[in-house]
Structures are given as structure tokens and as C-alpha cells.
């Protein structure tokens, strides 16, 4: 993974010294809240319902075990013992004191981490395929390009005060595990002629109040022109994005207002002017960054198939975990392991400091010291020898982290909702808990099959409800929490925005409504087809009828 050099470290130390002085001035009464708020937000510090919240950047979801242990330490020392994996591969701490924030940022800097650009109208943390460098279906490792984008976008003077926040995601694999179609810019690495590769660039995707699936911007961009092209894209957005109306300020609104062709024409004109201006990195600099992501030297470690099969047949839990949480690696002797923080009844994405330390130890032992965060709020061990799977399972089992439910109905994405968030209209976490408890029987969840259920506590859609196969949106209806249900959304290659199925439900009726939807799907399903296939075939009517009765 990328390691900071002296320049990076000095920059961060300077920045932290600056923020420490700003906090001191605020506490001493030399700065008003109006003056201080933009300064703290530039350092990832929000004020939420109960306390300050610190959002820490995890660049493209990649963590070393040293970093993960430090996050665990921060959770225990300065928070209430836990943190929350976010839907942008970051972590949030919910119970931060302003007086402690400078010390926490210093502790983060010790392990090359920070909270810069996790808030504000700038380019936020670049997200990527959490299986990067390991996935069996990978064309090219996206981390190199995510890191180049991170360096380009960090403190970019022209793009520090954009019309609105800006999110970029990149994948280098065939399957989209980064939801690139729901980003301001989505990048897919594709094969080119003669074994080369390039980028297919998408623009204007996003969730929130006005959801859009991103549109194709450029079919094939050679890798050495990535930065100049994105610079031109951001520049045109910065010029024309609506600063007069916060609800219309994202690039998705601009692109859909003028049309992607008109936007592209302006970008291409600008690109022609700036391409030669040394924005793009020279090949030796790309090679320097690439060297940080050299493929690990994985030892020959073939699994004993007889022993492995015996272990699976003797332990149903292990067998299920292998079916759902063990995923194909480039090297057939290895696997990618998903560690689910979604045991039924748990608040989705919350992890204790001890669990972070436990996973860090397991990653050192079994995954070459590397961990990934997924936008679905789980952790990934990217390089596990298949011969070690049984031992790893026992290790994780001792920490209660072996829910074998990756991508099943209980693997819910949920934002913190009204339990923590100042923007929320309704709670997300209790709804998630109720639904996971309803489907707690792992055999039942498995019989339902792959089903993405996402919950947001307000229209800002941090819980990605628009892209859930089943989406749940919390709304305030005359002072009570109600929940609107959408069907047919999808985050991946077949990206789609879910359709509202009908009037909203009060909280206590939501688990029944979800059960009704699932039962309707199972009754309509043909030949084991997935939920989305059934929904595409039968449409919304059978679900509406089951939920609301026959229309008169």
C-alpha cells in the first residue's frame, strides 16, 4: 500500500498544528462558531445530535493493520469504544469532544491518516473496489489510480471551494463493487488494444434528493491523460455548477440540465487547451506510485481439498461462511474474505475497538497485514490462503465476526439516522435491527438469496436507499417516523434507481412490509432467479397488491 514520504508527513504535521491553534482560539473565545465551523469541517469535525463527530478518511478503503489498531485505540480512548464504517469506506467516531480533536488528529497522523476533505465542497475521499489487487475478475489494480487521484485532489487550490461536494469512485474489475454509477465521476478500467488498458469515464451519478445514474462521458481515455481530463471536467463544473441553490449544485444537475453531450463538448474544448500543461504525471512518477502496490509475493499454499471438504461438511456455519463470505482471488490457492459486521441485531457498520484490534491481528496472521473497508460497511481480508480458511474462521468466531451473510438480506447498509445525525428525519438503525432479527435464521436468509436492502434516515441518502434492491427511506410525517419503500434499485453494473412502491409505513409496520415483499418475491420467483430478475419480469403490481391490497 502507499506509504507517506517526508513531504506528506510534514504537510500533515503543519496542518494539525494549524488546527490545534484554531481549536485553542475557539475555546478561548477568539473565534465565533460562524468563523470556526468552516475550519473544523475542513478537518472532518461535525457537530451532531449528541456530540462532535469526526469522519476519518480511509483512502480507497485500504487500511494497514497498524492503522486499524490505531482506530481501535481512538475508539476506546476518545470515543465510547466503537466507530462506524461509513458508506464511503471511511470511519466516523460519534462521541468526540472538541478539546480532544487535536490530539486525535495527531494520533491519526502517527499512522499516516487524517480527516481532511471528509467534509466540505471539495473532492472527497476517492473510493474504489475493496477487492483491488486481489479480485479474480480484475483487469488492472485501481489503487494506483485512486492514489494518483488522491494526491491530485488533496488541497487542489482550484477545487477546494466547488459548488458542492464531489465524489469519485474507480473500479478495475468486471463486476462493479464500488457503485461507480452513483458518483459524480465514476471510472471503470477497461482493456484496450494490444494488452493496454484505459478508463471509461462516467459523469453525473448520485443519490440524494435527485437521484441519477451516471452517464457515459468518455468511452476510452488513455491512462496517461487521466488527470488533465478530470481537471477539465472539474473546471467546467466549477464554472457552471449552480452556486445559488444548494439542491441544484451537484454536477448531476448540471449534466442533466445541459445534457451530457453539451457538457462533454465543453470539457473536450477545455481539455484541448490544458493537455500539454504538465498536469498529467510523467511515466516515472506513475511507476513510483505503482511500486507501492506491487502484488504480494504469495507463497505456494495449496489447500488439502479432502480436509477442507470434511471441515465444511462437519460445520454448517463454516460451510455457510465459505459460501457467502469467501470470494475468488486472482491466485486460486488464495481467497478474499468478507468479515461481516452484520450479525442480526447489530447496528450495521458499528465496530468496537476490540473488534478492530482482533481483525488487525487476524489480518497480520492470515492476510499479509492488509484490510479493506467496503461501502457496504464490512471489512475485507484480501489475501487469505485457502489452507488457512478454517483457522481464520475459528479466529473470527471467537470475536463473534463470522456472520455468513455477505450480500444477503441481513447485510443491510444503514446510515446512522436520527439516533446520531443532525440531518435525519427518522431512525435507521432500529429498523435495520428489527429486519435483521426477523431474518435472523441464516437458512431462511440464504433461501431468500442475494438481496441488497439499504436504509437512509433522510433524503440525503447516505444509506444508499435508491440503489437497494429494496430501499427504505425514513421520512417525517406530521411528527412521526414513517418509511417509504422502493423496489428495483441496483448499485452495480446494472445500476438503477428504485421505484417507490406506494404510501409509507409507520416504523412498527416496516418489518412486516419487508416480509411481505420477500414472500411475494419467493412466490413469484422462477428457477431460483434473483430478486431483481423477478422484479423486472413481474413488475411492481404483485408487490403493491400484497402490501396494499387489490386496487378498487
Amino acid at each position: 500500500m502507499y506509504r507517506y514520504d517526508d513531504f506528506d508527513r510534514d504537510f500533515l504535521l503543519d496542518r494539525n498544528r494549524e488546527f490545534r491553534a484554531q481549536v485553542e482560539r475557539r475555546l478561548a473565545g477568539q473565534l465565533t462558531e460562524d468563523e470556526f465551523k468552516p475550519l473544523r469541517l475542513m478537518n472532518g469535525l461535525y457537530l451532531q445530535l449528541h456530540a462532535y463527530m469526526l469522519r476519518v478518511a480511509i483512502p480507497y478503503g485500504v487500511l494497514s493493520t497498524r492503522q486499524l489498531r490505531q482506530l481501535g485505540m481512538i475508539a476506546r480512548r476518545w470515543d465510547k469504544g466503537f466507530g462506524h464504517w461509513t458508506t464511503r469506506q471511511n470511519i466516523q467516531f460519534n462521541w468526540i469532544k472538541l478539546v480532544d480533536a487535536p490530539d486525535i488528529l495527531e494520533a491519526l497522523a502517527e499512522v499516516d491518516m487524517h480527516a481532511i476533505q471528509t467534509s466540505g465542497n471539495c473532492i472527497r475521499n476517492v473510493t474504489a473496489d475493496p477487492f483491488a489487487g486481489a479480485a479474480a475478475d480484475e483487469i488492472e489494480d485501481p489503487r494506483i489510480w485512486a492514489e494518483i487521484l488522491r494526491q491530485w485532489s488533496t488541497n487542489h487550490p482550484e477545487f477546494t471551494f466547488l459548488p458542492r461536494k464531489f465524489k469519485i469512485a474507480i473500479t478495475g474489475a468486471l463486476e462493479d463493487r464500488a457503485a461507480i454509477a452513483f458518483h459524480d465521476i465514476g471510472i471503470r478500467i477497461v482493456g484496450g488494444p494490444n494488452g493496454t488498458f484505459g478508463f471509461r469515464v462516467y459523469v453525473g451519478g448520485g443519490q440524494g434528493r435527485t437521484p441519477y445514474v451516471a452517464q457515459e462521458m468518455k468511452d476510452f481515455l488513455p491512462p496517461d491523460q487521466l488527470l488533465s481530463y478530470l481537471e477539465a471536467m472539474l473546471r467546467i463544473y466549477n464554472l457552471h455548477g449552480r452556486r445559488d441553490n444548494i439542491y441544484k449544485a451537484r454536477i448531476k444537475i448540471l449534466v442533466n440540465a445541459i445534457g451530457v453531450d453539451a457538457y462533454r463538448a465543453q470539457v473536450e474544448d477545455e481539455w484541448e487547451c490544458i493537455r500539454g500543461e504538465e498536469i498529467d504525471l510523467p511515466a516515472d512518477e506513475v511507476a513510483r506510485i505503482q511500486a507501492h502496490f506491487a502484488p504480494p509475493q504469495l507463497q505456494l499454499n495449496p489447500v488439502d481439498h479432502a480436509t477442507f471438504s470434511k471441515a465444511r461438511s462437519e460445520d454448517g456455519g463454516f460451510d455457510r461462511w465459505v459460501r457467502h463470505n469467501v470470494l475468488p482471488h486472482k491466485n486460486p490457492d488464495y481467497a478474499i474474505v468478507s468479515i461481516a459486521f452484520k450479525e442480526p441485531g447489530r447496528p450495521p457498520g458499528d465496530a468496537t475497538g476490540e473488534e478492530m484490534e482482533h481483525v488487525a491481528d487476524a489480518a497480520d496472521r492470515y492476510s499479509r497485514g492488509e484490510v479493506r473497508v467496503t461501502y457496504t460497511q464490512n471489512l475485507i481480508l484480501p489475501n487469505v490462503a485457502r489452507a488457512d480458511l478454517a483457522d481464520l474462521y475459528e479466529d473470527l468466531k471467537s470475536a463473534g465476526l463470522v456472520a455468513g451473510n455477505t450480500d444477503l438480506i441481513t447485510d443491510i447498509i444503514a446510515c446512522p439516522g436520527l439516533d446520531y445525525c443532525n440531518l435525519a428525519n427518522a431512525r435507521s438503525l432500529p429498523i435495520a435491527q428489527d429486519i435483521t432479527e426477523r431474518f435472523a435464521d441464516p437458512e431462511r436468509a440464504e433461501a431468500v438469496g442475494e438481496l441488497r436492502l439499504n436504509i437512509s434516515g433522510c433524503i440525503n441518502a447516505c444509506g444508499h436507499h435508491h440503489s437497494g434492491h429494496i430501499g427504505i427511506l425514513g421520512v417525517d410525517k406530521k411528527g412521526t417516523e414513517h418509511y417509504q419503500i422502493t423496489l428495483g434499485g441496483s448499485p452495480g453494473g446494472d445500476a438503477a434507481i428504485g421505484d417507490i412502491v406506494g404510501p409509507s409505513f409507520p416504523a412498527e409496520d416496516v418489518p412486516d412490509a419487508i416480509e411481505t415483499i420477500v414472500d411475494t418475491y419467493l412466490a413469484q420467483r422462477r428457477d431460483g432467479e434473483a430478486f431483481l430478475a423477478t422484479y423486472a419480469r413481474v413488475g411492481a403490481d404483485p408487490f403493491k397488491e400484497a402490501l396494499y391490497g387489490t386496487p378498487r
Binding site: A51, K80, F82, K97, L98, P430
Partner: protein
Amino acid sequence: MPSVITANRLVDGIVVYLSEDDKWLTDLAAARVADDEAGLEKLTAIAGQAAADHIVVGPYSMAVDLSEGVPGPKSVREQIRAAHRPTITAVTEAR
């Protein structure tokens, strides 16, 4: 409508309520209740000064339910704030 003033404390962000002797306490039940507009105006002025004095952040008034004179929250949001915790069993707590 009976109302109180709430805010977040500057140093740690904790939810507080304007109480007797202009103190900011974490217990909603101890909050000073304004019964009319004049009373609320007075509390609002005290709260504005506390924000200017860098004691609290973002003070606002909210209507409360009175039970034997003791103020309680009206909305889910204010119930959650007054409880100083989420409504779920936290991941650190026994389930």
C-alpha cells in the same frame, strides 16, 4: 406553549439545557420553562449571551410537554437528545 432552551456545549458537544441560575445542565427535567412569549424572550437573550460567551453552540427554543411541572421532550429527535444516547442497543452493550 411551555418551552425551554437547548444547545450543545462548546467543549464537548454534549446536549445541554438552560436551567436555573443561568446554568447549562444535561438534564432536560431540570430545564427552566418559559410559559409565555415574554418568558421565552428572556431565556433566548440569556442563551444568546451564552453562545457569545463561547459556552454553548447553536441554542434554540423548543416546546416541551409538562408532567407535574417537569419538562419532557415532544419529538423523537428531542427524546434522543435528552437521553444522551441512541435508542438501540449499542455494539458495546450486551445484546
